[in-house]
């Protein structure tokens, strides 16, 4: 079985890489990176792709009142991002609160409660997609399609805009401006995300992911059942809706907010092993392609390969670990019920199956879990709460590394570049030069912004978890005692504080503390990483470029890749090791005999 599990994992990763390589030229063509010579905001070298995109984009921007695309300074770009997030937040809040007054609500679902609505609005605007509600029982199709799905597109697009600004920082010389947010936003949405989402959505629908304007169908029951009230109904209402369209962008945009409460384990969201593969590919594709496109944008493809290699170095060992952990039998189960058969055979997938879908099995559930936490997707096809302690540790740690191992669309790579700047700073000193990356000197102001990007997520995560710990009523939201309960609290704030959005599970996060606390964590973390990244782009763009020589620190070598990976691990480990020791590590080291196991 292990052979087939590894083959499966390898095949999925291979398919992902191929997909990423395929879309790289496409992604690279979406943004124009040079200086804006004519001020029109239009590409200087117009390929057919850029031309046709421009033709679609121009009337749309004009309809929105943007007649002349003007290049923005970093401050203006940042303000535009803030305004845009504010407007998205307001619109979403309006849709959720006014649900009963709005059309396309066939089930007459009531207004979403304030706390949940605020939490959800914060969550979807920030690309986190933490879900404090059950989708099918809380939201009308209008709220799902016009509210959530739209934010799925726009939050992903703004992530890519931030990346574009950062890249322009390296490419431009002595430039006071860094591009136009409105222009970038429309181009990336129309030019990349929408066509890709249509493609993925069609593929998903072809496999049985539902896509309908109806909200439910009544199907006859195949087996007689009694309801709690003692009635024997003959039919069961099965919820359907515009699912494929939302799932496509949920995966592509590393959003992760499912249509259904069960997310990617629901048969209408992720029916077959093939859709499972497709969804993994969709999660990883744009973040991976971003690295390769980065190399093209800065005019040195090796730099892109190095960034991708850094992510791979941080990702692959954890893939191996989590697949190992999850395909191994559960020792506590074996100790409690010695007769149980957890071995792999032609009849069954072996390993730890609790909380996993049998149609995916432990190997691809584990791969999905590590991919969804490494990227900031957060959609799940298995319950991370039920993973082995160390498997759960892997998912949590991938989030805690700051969502820079693939990470969010655009923001993940931008975050890794911030790590790279800090690593370059120390390494550059070690070779006796004032540090520089891609020809730009790293000075105190870039350092300040870079440190904010690096440190806000861990600080938000730790402070949030600590707050939950000192409020016994809120800590009780964790359904498990012992270290596992602490893991549930830590995971929730890690997920929100790094804009991942996946839930460990086992946490009833509907109180004011949890909904508002997590909303605050999501907003703080998202904005306080995006805005400093834009600032770095602006600072770098204004600088002149330093000439390269053999005295320049090479930033494409395996050694440098290891150095950056080491920096990510070091900051991640040093920030979270004590907390992890009290959660998953204590749980994993617990002897099986002690008190009947951890769950």
């Amino acid at each position: 079985m292990m052979i087939s599990a590894w083959t499966e994992v390898a095949a999925i990763l291979m398919a992902t890489t191929l997909a990423a390589i395929t879309i790289t030229p496409w992604l690279a063509a979406v943004f124009r990176m040079g200086a804006d010579s004519d001020g029109s905001g239009e590409p200087e070298t117009d390929g057919w792709f850029s031309r046709s995109l421009g033709a679609i984009q121009r009337p749309l921007l004009r309809a929105a009142g943007v007649w002349h695309i003007r290049e923005m300074t970093a401050t203006e770009y940042g303000i535009a991002i803030l305004l845009f997030h504010g407007a998205g937040f307001g619109l979403l809040l309006f849709l959720l609160r006014c649900q009963p007054l709005l059309p396309w609500n066939p089930d007459r679902l009531p207004s979403v409660p304030w706390l949940i609505a605020l939490n959800t609005a914060a969550s979807f605007v920030t690309n986190t997609n933490w879900q404090a509600y059950g989708g099918e029982t809380t939201l009308s199709p209008l709220s799902q399609a016009l509210g959530l799905t739209v934010q799925n597109f726009l939050s992903a697009a703004s992530g890519l805009c931030v990346l574009a600004v950062l890249v322009r920082g390296f490419v431009r010389r002595g430039s006071p401006t860094i591009g136009s947010f409105w222009h970038d936003l429309v181009r990336v949405t129309l030019g990349l995300l929408l066509p890709l989402a249509i493609l993925v959505g069609l593929l998903l629908a072809s496999q049985g992911v539902v896509q309908s304007f109806d909200t439910g169908v009544d199907v006859p029951l195949v087996e007689e059942t009694l309801t709690a009230a003692g009635e024997a109904p003959s039919t069961r209402r099965v919820v359907i809706g515009p699912v494929a369209s939302q799932v496509a962008i949920k995966q592509l945009g590393t959003n992760g907010g499912g249509y259904f409460n069960a997310n990617g384990s629901h048969p209408f969201e992720n029916p077959t092993p093939l859709t499972n593969l497709l969804e993994i590919v969709a999660m990883l594709m744009i973040p991976m392609a971003s690295c390769l496109a980065f190399g093209r944008w800065v005019g040195d493809r090796r730099q892109g390969y190095a960034l991708l290699a850094t992510m791979a170095v941080l990702f692959l060992p954890f893939v191996v670990l989590i697949v190992r952990f999850e395909t191994s039998p559960n020792p506590w189960l074996a100790a409690a019920v010695p007769s149980i058969d957890q071995a792999t055979s032609s009849e069954q997938d072996g390993g730890s199956l609790e909380g996993k879908e049998v149609r995916f099995g432990p190997a691809s559930s584990a791969l999905f879990a590590v991919a969804t936490t490494a990227t900031s997707c957060g959609g799940v096809n298995a319950m991370h709460d039920s993973f082995s302690p160390l498997g759960g540790l892997v998912t949590m740690w991938m989030i805690q590394l700051g969502e820079v191992v693939f990470g969010g669309v655009g923001t993940g790579l931008a975050g890794l570049v911030a790590y790279t700047l800090v690593a370059v700073f120390v390494a550059g000193l070690m070779v006796g030069r004032s540090p520089e990356y891609l020809g730009k000197k790293i000075e105190s102001r870039e350092m300040k912004m870079g440190m904010i990007v690096l440190l806000v997520p861990p600080i938000v995560t730790l402070v949030g978890t600590a707050a939950a710990c000192v409020l016994p009523a809120e800590a009780a939201a964790a359904s498990n005692p012992g270290p596992h309960g602490f893991s549930e609290l830590l995971y929730a704030f890690s997920s929100a504080g790094n804009n991942n959005g996946s839930a460990f599970g086992g946490l009833s996060a509907t109180s004011a503390f949890w909904t508002l606390g997590l909303a605050a964590a999501m907003l703080t973390s998202r904005l306080l990483t995006m805005l400093p990244l834009v600032a770095i782009g602006g600072l770098l763009a204004a600088k002149r470029t330093v000439a390269e020589s053999p005295g320049t620190l090479p930033t494409h070598t395996p050694l440098f890749v290891l150095l950056v990976a080491g920096a990510v691990i070091l900051v991640g480990a040093l920030s979270f090791v004590p907390a992890l020791a009290l959660g998953p590590i204590a749980e994993a080291l617990q002897p099986p005999a002690a008190g009947g196991g951890p769950r």
Partner: protein
């Protein structure tokens, strides 16, 4: 100035004692706040001390008062050791500053009422002299302040500033018209216009620099401080949140105690980048100090750092790349003349010629043809010295008129005397010139004997040095007044990357601008007033101390030895400074991993006994584990003081190689070294009876 070896100061008990005393006075929080890392540790130390006092006074608590006191002692030690490192670095500079200050003894200056020697003298204390005053300095006087010579010629002993005992000539006009306060006139007299107000003189600046009194943080230090402050902040959050985490864990596990403040403070001091934070000022001061010991005075720490970044060096040909003078390399006879005959004539013409070129001809004749030197006078010959009119030199001997000179001069003379220049000699001259050498034609009456090839001699080992620089990514550019042909040949021989021939000050300035436009940082040396614009434009500009006031004002460093080769040393010092900073930062951060392995099992073992499995060092007890980690953290600062003062080993290697080596030594070393050290300290504590 004495050239102290670093080992000397490190072994000097007086300096160490004084530094230890200063470590205490430096605890002043108003001063400590300049270093955010160490400031937070000092605050922590004060809080834990208060806690220890409160517990000893009978306040309730979970931790043993002795343990709290021990942790407090560890925190104080960390801060004190860091201050000690800074004081040590300053101590070395202070010794030099004291020596300099002694030369600045108050003297009575002879202030002149008018700027000429015979004006009325008004004795004025040197400290009262203002810029613009005119003074008279006579043999034996100490120069009372920096100034410009406006009249007179004198020999000056500048050893107080340069350490060089040979006297130098100072005269009005030209490029040797400055005098420096503290130097002494050996002969004659000078009328000098004072150029610096009291407290702003060269000597004052030098004293300030070596003392590090008004040291400004350099941009690179500020950036590093931000990195360190950020990490300190996150570690503060990490340790502070452990209190609620452990409270939750105790509640849910039903055993153990929440972490005490002393353990949290211990964890914090171990995680915070105290090693680099504590040594950072010492590294900066030591870098400037190394410059001073190389007899280079930088106007700011920023200039020292910039020296490490320089990637284009503009080097003057003469003195830096070549020996000062051209030397005879070959005798190239005309047809019908033997080489020996030519050599003999050349030797005769040069015997009384005291110029270096003339002497080199005599030497070559002796080496090649065994021609011994003869006394011109005993031969009855008349030496005809070089004059601007004839532009030739030679001898008249036994009716022979042997002359040597430039081709066109000899040609004119020969033609005038009715002879002619053989076409073959012209060809030889062309070949010599094309190879970058200078042809000197020798003629006996009207008979052209042949050509002496005079070559610029490239300094030994300079080509290898340039090769090293190239490997480090530094381009070398030779600046020369020679014609392009000669310049190209010397450039090729010396192995420089580029050259600027027939250099004018404007061409130099344009070249610097061009390199800067391309993103390079340029360093150059200069001494003349006409160098000043280029010096002002260059990123690192080293003015020769023998140069003019204008050059010194325009530059950001002054080389007291006036040695143009010094630029290479300056670059090395700058790089070493940055490398030391980077290496110790890496070391400091890599250290943290081991401290987790020491403290986490010790802190949480009471709550979750299974976490003791993480205690890979098998430490004696939670108490000794925490104290050993704190002790290591403090002691490593002292252990690295010599490294901070001396700088990490510097070799000119490509960046990739340097990174690999330093990462291996400081990164991997920093990761692994603490494990055995903490284990040893733990065993020591256990042996001493710590429970």
């Amino acid at each position: 100035m004495t050239h102290n070896e670093p080992a000397g100061i490190l072994a000097d008990p007086g300096v160490i004692l004084r530094a230890a005393g200063q470590a205490l006075t430096k605890l002043d929080p108003r001063r400590m706040i300049r270093s955010p890392v160490m400031f937070t540790i000092e605050v922590g130390a004060a809080l834990i001390t208060l806690l220890a006092v409160a517990r000893l006074a009978g306040q309730p608590g979970t931790e043993h008062p002795a343990f709290i006191a021990a942790v407090a002692a560890g925190l104080w030690a960390t801060v004190l050791f860091a201050n000690f490192a800074e004081a040590m670095a300053e101590g070395r500079g202070r010794a030099q500053a004291d020596a300099l200050r002694r030369t600045r003894s108050d003297t009575l200056a002879k202030r002149l009422a008018a700027p000429h020697r015979d004006a009325a003298i008004d004795p004025t204390p040197s400290t009262k002299l203002r810029a613009g005053d005119h003074i008279l300095i006579e043999a034996g006087d100490i120069v009372p302040g920096d100034g410009e010579v406006i009249d007179g010629v004198a020999s000056v002993d500048e050893s107080a500033i340069t350490g060089e005992s040979a006297p130098v000539i100072r005269e009005s006009g030209g490029d040797r018209n400055t005098v420096t306060g503290g130097t002494r006139l050996l002969s004659d007299w000078l009328v000098v216009r004072i150029t610096a107000n009291p407290g702003e003189s060269f000597l004052d600046r030098m004293i300030t620099m070596v003392e590090g009194a008004k040291r400004q943080k350099t941009p690179n230090e500020i950036a590093l401080d931000i990195l360190l402050a950020g990490l300190t902040l996150v570690f503060l959050v990490v340790t502070a949140t452990l209190l609620p985490f452990s409270m939750h864990a105790v509640a849910t596990a039903g055993r153990g105690e929440p972490l005490g403040l002393a353990v949290l403070a211990a964890l914090f001091v171990c995680l915070a980048p105290t090693t680099i934070g504590g040594l950072l000022p010492a590294i900066g001061i030591a870098g400037i100090d190394r410059m001073v010991r190389a007899n280079v005075l930088a106007t700011s720490g920023r200039a020292v750092e910039a020296a490490g970044d320089v990637d284009v060096l503009l080097l003057d040909k003469t003195g830096t790349i070549t020996l000062g003078n051209r030397q005879a390399a070959r005798f190239l006879p005309a047809s019908g003349v033997t080489e020996r005959e030519l050599a003999e004539a050349a030797q005769l013409a040069s015997l009384a010629d005291e110029t270096p070129e003339g002497r080199s001809i005599v030497i070559l004749a002796k080496e090649r043809h065994g021609l011994r030197g003869r006394d011109v006078e005993s031969l009855g010959a008349t030496f005809i010295p070089f004059t601007a009119q004839t532009r030739t030199s030679g001898v008249d001997l036994d009716g022979r008129q042997i002359r040597k000179g430039a081709r066109d001069t000899i040609q004119k003379a020969v033609t005038a005397a009715g002879g002619s220049m053989p076409a073959e000699v012209n060809r030889i001259c062309d070949d010599v010139a094309r190879a970058g050498a200078t042809p000197l034609v020798v003629v006996d009456g009207t008979r052209v004997l042949g050509v002496i090839e005079l070559k610029d001699v490239v300094k030994g080992g300079i080509a290898e040095r340039f090769k090293e620089l190239r490997a480090m990514g530094i381009r070398t550019v030779m600046i020369t007044g020679d014609n392009p042909l000669t310049a190209a040949a010397i450039a090729a021989e010396a192995g420089v990357d580029d050259f600027l021939a027939e250099a004018t000050p404007e061409a130099k300035l344009a070249m610097i601008r061009r390199y800067q436009q391309e993103g390079h940082l340029v360093a150059m040396t200069g001494d003349g007033t006409n160098d000043a614009p280029a010096l002002a434009q260059a990123d690192v500009a080293v003015a020769m101390n023998s140069g003019t006031q204008a050059a010194k004002e325009a530059g950001n460093m002054v080389d007291l030895d006036s040695n143009p080769t010094k630029l290479l040393e300056i670059v090395a010092v700058g790089k070493q400074l940055l490398m030391t900073r980077g290496s110790l930062t890496t070391f400091s951060l890599a250290n943290d991993v081991s401290k987790y392995f020491a403290i986490v099992p010790a802190a949480f073992g009471g709550i979750y006994p299974q976490l003791r499995a993480l205690d890979v060092m098998r430490l004696h007890s939670p108490t000794t584990a925490v104290l050993a980690a704190v002790a290591f953290n403090a002691l490593v600062i002292v252990g690295l003081v010599p490294m901070a003062l001396k700088g990490v080993r510097y070799r000119p290697l490509p960046a990739a190689v340097l990174l690999r080596q330093n990462l291996l030594v400081w990164g991997l070393g920093g990761l692994l070294l603490p494990f055995p050290c903490i284990k040893l300290l733990d065993m020591l504590l256990a042996t001493c009876g710590v429970p």
